[in-house]
Amino acid sequence: MPSNDNAPPRGGEKACDGADSGARDNQPPDLSRRRFIKGAGIAGVAASAGALLADRTLAVEPESQNGGTGGAPGVLGPGAVPVTLKINGKLHRLSLEPRVTLLDALRNHLDLTGAKKVCDRATCGACTVHLDGRAVYSCTTLALDAQGHEITTIEGIEPAGGLHPVSQAFWDHDAQQCGFCTPGFVMAVTAYLNHQPNPTLEALGHALGGNLCRCGTYRGIKGAVLEAARSIRAKGGQA
């Protein structure tokens, strides 16, 4: 199993940025970072991103369940390759180009649309899902890279016949207006409360600093997190 050191990065762990390069002779920049990462081929990404991603993107672990890539180290793509993702406890065998992000795999290939695409570059947190219980930005995690991990989306946390305590608290505290950021916040809060069951109001600014809301629901969110924490503690369980 991967250590924390080579787990998919969240937010500010970006290793390269091509967005502002190339403005020469008054020519507007031509290369976006997103297209660079997703379009350059996996070998290129690994080379740029350095050791952080190298061992998990270049070499496919032979014993992992990624169906048919052969396990030989080498360059994957640009064509579709078999990818197996374990999402909400269930295995999904897909055929995806290596450049497909986890977010696009969820939304475009599996119709799991709870995670939203907003900034598409690891700033706003609307795409937040859990990888082995940790909150990650699925917009900047390659689907390929999520193989072998337990992926949990908001669709996977709802208990049968009721709302998850965090979702319930968001409703009770009106911690949502347009609601587009809400699933990402709920997933970020859920991961946070598993890690910190007794949060303080003061800690929330940092803990939830990786998610953004445009309608201005932060006041409701603060109340919702504290209430959800109480409710989960009272049930003696995990978020």
Partner: protein, 713 residues
């Protein structure tokens, strides 16, 4: 003729209570399907190519390489060769492919040659040049020249302003389009469900794809933010429908984040050089201002300053700077935040020069607010108590010797908020179930919940007994949701429709209760003789008397149930680190009226949200353009900064309700509370550090520059 009125205060079970939004569970569980979430069988993904130049003629477009790429199914040229683009990233060509990644790659493969043209992307009036400016207003009231000559007049002068900001909707603009023969279905992210089909029909017919508006089905069940930028069938909607027609498959085309930030709307900038004078007792005498700002390629209209407090002697001009930053769109309370910032900053600077507490200064002149003066008189003491103004306010700059300074500031604002034209249908079925149908939309403001409350209250039923249908143009037409017009549009039309349906039901039921319909009421799940629960039948029994046919009641926006014109007072407390220039909003108080409140919970949320949005534009938000290349430098969310959860201090909201307010009927609320935060926070910073930071956002470099400690501003 039925008599339509709101129930008296002692006869309201639901109206005015704190009721949780009915679509909350769908949203907080991720089940809510926004237009962006619609996936159709065989659907393609659309992507657009934008201009590399801020202003250019398109010399040549070559789409052959893109068309031959794997998975590409259709290409549409949106601006032909010989056409002109007016801002960088303006959309030129759209492609559709069988995966999002392939569509993106195909868009990159489109080759466009340009003939660059002169452009301007800044909004500095002094250096813009005559061809980029147009004076739009120059008005004089009274005799400002003479007034400023009065002996003993205290005069304050300053320059104030706010830059262009963007809407930054989290759900970017866009839609899914699907043809079925000559019928088109559009899942649009829009604030204007009922007004969309006509726009699509007209634009598509112009593009050689004739379709009747009556054959266009528009659906918006959930909408991820608009703030005034989502009223039109945009170029990408039309191109999306063209792509779908060409490919014979549904197409989803949502804007990329950089397109959302550069193309899909921004708020105009506004700056002004102001001179304002008052007598030594604080009586406002004269105002003079030269204002300017940009709203993109066109210059039209003119924001009116001074805002609210307009003395008898005024000279005010406004000049539009026409530049190549992309067109402005209505941004929550169009122009008011800028007008409030400039006016209320100048007024507080004048108060400081008079050595007056600004609250005393505003109250001294509040009669200039006309009909709303009483509202402000009611609100000021409440706001002052909630922020402890009298104890905490200090004369400017007297904030201790440490590096971190505290200060208080205030602002006032107004807005209209009259209801839009909406139609509602209430259907009572023989089995007792009830539905309301209305072609409106819920932007997250709580529209569904408001309709539910009004219908249930009118029919004497619990909330869950009424099914609310909206977000579909097959329901009776409703106005666009903009300008705080929806709450009155939907609640008055629903009240009328539900009353009409109920009256018909009462007529059917009256004989069995041995009375006449006018002696009956719907209350607590029953139809009963007014005030007499013992002479009643249950709602279900009553509806069973309908036989096979449901009752349909129609209603439309009812002026007797609503009004317009609100007032609000906000006060802010900030902390400024004079060594780093960092400003923190510590506490913000908003006191707001909006007539009769239907749902106090979502109403308060509107105000909280507006204050938080206000922290964003006061402290962080700015669309930054590069004059050298003509492009936007922060078309993303890491450098276009929204306020985060940790950036927002305590917020206290007080809604004006009860006698004097409820009887005004409903008034819209979305816009007004977002007007004042910029001014109140700017004034608080001036109070803290003793000098004015002339421009928003109050970023560290601007604060340090105002303190004479360097910085770039």
């Amino acid at each position: 003729m039925a008599d339509y009125h709101w129930p008296p205060a002692n006869h309201r079970e639901l109206i005015g209570k704190k009721i949780k939004r009915i679509d909350g569970p769908a949203k907080s569980s991720g089940r809510a399907k926004y237009s962006y979430d619609i996936n159709r069988p065989g659907m393609l993904w659309g992507k657009m190519v934008g201009s590399k130049y801020a202003h250019a003629k398109i010399a040549k477009i070559d789409t052959r390489a893109a068309e031959s790429m794997p998975g590409v199914k259709a290409v549409v040229v949106m601006i032909p060769e010989g056409g002109e683009v007016f801002w960088a990233n303006q959309e030129i060509v759209a492609v559709a492919a069988d995966s999002e990644e392939r569509a993106e790659a195909a868009a990159d493969a489109v080759k466009i040659e340009y003939q660059p043209l002169p452009y301007l992307v800044h909004d500095d009036l002094q250096t813009a040049g005559a061809q980029f400016t147009k004076q739009l207003e120059n008005r004089t009231n009274g005799n400002p020249d003479q007034a400023f000559q009065q002996p003993d007049l205290v005069v304050s002068e300053g320059v104030y302003g706010a830059p262009v900001i963007t809407h930054c909707c989290l759900e970017s603009h866009g839609q899914v389009t699907e043809w079925n023969g000559d019928h088109l279905t559009v899942w649009e992210s829009t604030q204007n469900v009922s007004g969309m089909a006509g726009q699509y029909a007209e634009a598509l017919s112009d593009k050689g794809v004739p379709v009747q508006a009556s054959n266009i089905h528009v659906i918006t069940q959930f909408m991820g933010g608009g703030f005034g930028s989502k009223f039109a069938a945009d170029t990408w909607g039309i191109a999306c429908a063209q792509l779908a027609k060409k490919a014979g498959r549904p197409v989803k085309m949502m804007l990329e984040r950089d397109q959302e930030q550069t193309t899909a709307g921004c708020r105009p900038s506004m700056y002004a050089r102001v001179k304002v004078g008052a007598k030594r007792d604080g009586t406002l005498v004269a105002w003079q201002s030269e204002a300017w700002g940009t709203q993109g390629p066109r210059a039209e209209g003119s924001p009116r300053i001074p805002y609210i407090l307009e003395p008898a002697n005024v000279r005010a001009s406004y000049t539009g700077v026409m530049n190549n930053i992309g067109p402005a769109r209505a941004w929550r309370a169009p122009n008011h935040p800028q007008m409030a910032l400039i006016t209320n900053s100048a007024m507080e600077d004048l108060a400081a020069k008079l050595n007056m507490d600004p609250m005393d200064f505003f109250l001294k002149n509040i009669d200039l607010a006309g009909d709303h003066a009483k509202i402000y008189r009611d609100e000021f003491p409440i706001a002052a108590r909630l922020i402890d103004w009298k104890a905490k306010w200090h004369p400017r700059g007297q904030s201790g010797s440490g590096p971190v300074k505290r200060g208080l500031g205030l602002s006032i604002h107004t807005w209209g908020g009259r209801g839009n034209q909406s139609n509602c249908q209430v259907v009572i079925h023989p089995d007792g179930s009830v539905e309301t149908n209305i072609g409106s939309q819920d932007l997250g403001t709580g529209t569904r919940t408001v309709i539910n409350i009004v219908a249930a209250e009118t029919l004497g039923l619990p909330l869950h007994a009424v099914k609310v249908n909206l977000g579909d143009n097959r329901y009776p037409p409703a106005g666009a949701s903009g300008g705080s017009t929806t709450v009155s549009g939907v609640s008055t039309s629903t009240r009328m429709a539900a009353t009409n349906a109920l009256n018909e039901l009462l007529a059917k039921v009256a004989p069995s209760l041995g009375t006449t319909p006018d002696k009956l009421e719907a209350w607590d799940g029953k139809i009963q003789v007014i005030g007499n629960p013992s002479k009643s039948i249950s709602w279900k029994q009553a509806c069973a008397k309908l036989g096979a046919s449901p009752i349909t009641g129609m209603g439309r926006t009812n002026p007797a149930l609503m009004s317009s014109g609100v007032g609000g007072v906000q006060m802010s407390e900030v902390e400024v680190d004079t060594e780093t220039g960092i400003v923190r909003m510590m506490k913000h108080v908003a006191v707001q009226d909006c007539g009769l409140i239907i749902d106090l919970k979502t109403a308060e949320s509107q105000v909280y949200g507006a204050c938080i949005m206000g922290v964003g534009y006061a402290l962080y938000e700015e669309k930054i353009m590069d004059q050298l290349t003509g492009v936007c430098l922060n078309p993303n969310m890491e450098f276009y900064k929204l306020a985060g959860l940790g950036d927002v201090g305590e917020i206290v909201v007080h809604m004006m309700t009860g006698p004097g307010y409820d009887e005004r009927g409903t008034i819209g609320l979305g816009e007004p509370p977002v007007v004042s935060p910029g001014a109140a926070i700017s004034n608080a910073v001036a109070n803290a550090i003793g000098v004015r930071v002339p421009q928003l956002p109050l970023s560290p470099d601007r604060v340090l520059a105002a303190l004479g400690k360097g910085g770039m501003a």
